[in-house]
Symmetry: C2
Subunit: 225 residues, 2 copies
Amino acid sequence: MLPRAHKRTAASRESRPNPRAERSAARRDAIIEAAFEEFSARGFAATRLDDVAQRAGVAKGTIYLHFQDKEELFQELVRSALGPIIAQVELAQFADAPLRVSINQLAGLFVREVLGTRRKDIIRLVISEGPRFPKVAEFYYSNIVGRALAAMRHILQRAVDRGEIKNRIIVRFPQLIVAPGILAVIWSGLFDRFEELDAEAMMQAHLSLLFDALELPAKKTKARA
Amino acid sequence: MLPRAHKRTAASRESRPNPRAERSAARRDAIIEAAFEEFSARGFAATRLDDVAQRAGVAKGTIYLHFQDKEELFQELVRSALGPIIAQVELAQFADAPLRVSINQLAGLFVREVLGTRRKDIIRLVISEGPRFPKVAEFYYSNIVGRALAAMRHILQRAVDRGEIKNRIIVRFPQLIVAPGILAVIWSGLFDRFEELDAEAMMQAHLSLLFDALELPAKKTKARA
DNA sequence: ATATTATGACTGACCAGTCAGTCATATTGA
DNA sequence: TCAATATGACTGACTGGTCAGTCATAATAT
């Protein structure tokens, strides 16, 4: 929910720089920011709202003025982090560019806006906690994953129609395009201290291999028992 | 509480030598099995050892006869689930087979022994909880991920040497081979109810595309700002 | 008999969520 | 303009419940 910009009474004065509502919104943001740090570091169950409050410089009760309960705080955190990129996700499909350009654009968006920011920690959170928070999983699927897949299918189908690519299997599994990105997100949290992984270079290599393969005619599938 | 049923009636004893050690081991296994169910469903922090005990048909104190504490139980759970496949991981590299055969073998191992079993839930657990349990992450890296990567690099390097593949970028990023498998593990927990994903078919498609691409000569990399 | 293993009631720490009270700011009225 | 009054955002001590880990006691095996 985005109940920002409350009632603005009739003669809404635009001059006032610091009305109550503004202060209040700032606190809400501070709480979400603090919740992000704590939830990322400890996971949902192990996070103490006392710590969130302290980090936000706020009393615990204040959290409950802005959020129903711990779970709603978590959901709002995910919403507010992912909301801003939702629009961008669907943009790529409308540009009538060649396949490589369109896909590189989407991949670039992912590398820049997710892997390159703390949003990757949000993705990790969704992966970790999502199964226990149907609302979060649904929001994430409806607003990000589902749309991104649809956009990619659209782009890919167009490329097939144009004859840019010969192998249509990728239209069935557009997930293959982003899989290394997901792996990179997971890797960064788990294994970076054992072995560094250059996510952008890997993504680059991946797309380059993939495009090469897609331009070849599809082979017959081997029958499998 | 569930049926206790622990009073081995005098008659039952003559059949086999049921030494204490055997009974004890069986209980340990039951506890680990129960812990698996509970940890998978709720995550580490939200799992109650009371529930684990009940599910295992054991009193809570019994858990502490086998494991130091909750964390050790969790670690042992991961160990015991992943242990059996460690050996297999390194086997593939010694067979002197063509690339496609070797890699398909590894991929088959993954699909069969991980995606096809409840081990995928263990992987999910490691992904979710690993960042907060360095011991688990390290065990997983040292015994599974690291070895698998090394084995794959070995196989791939040999294929390069033989001229089976022309593009050596994959030697640098063998992660690209398994990325869709990881995505499938995550997908199954989060999004299966919105959109089914045929992991094996996707893996098949992926490897087929990848092999095709690898047989082509590498192109020049585009310089990037 | 007695050593080993199992039990489950118990303890103490911990923490989400509450609510009576405070106080800075806004509104009103003269 | 500036008390007097109203508002509601904010506070933090408190409650009720939960749960990891303990240990005195009981069951069982040898």
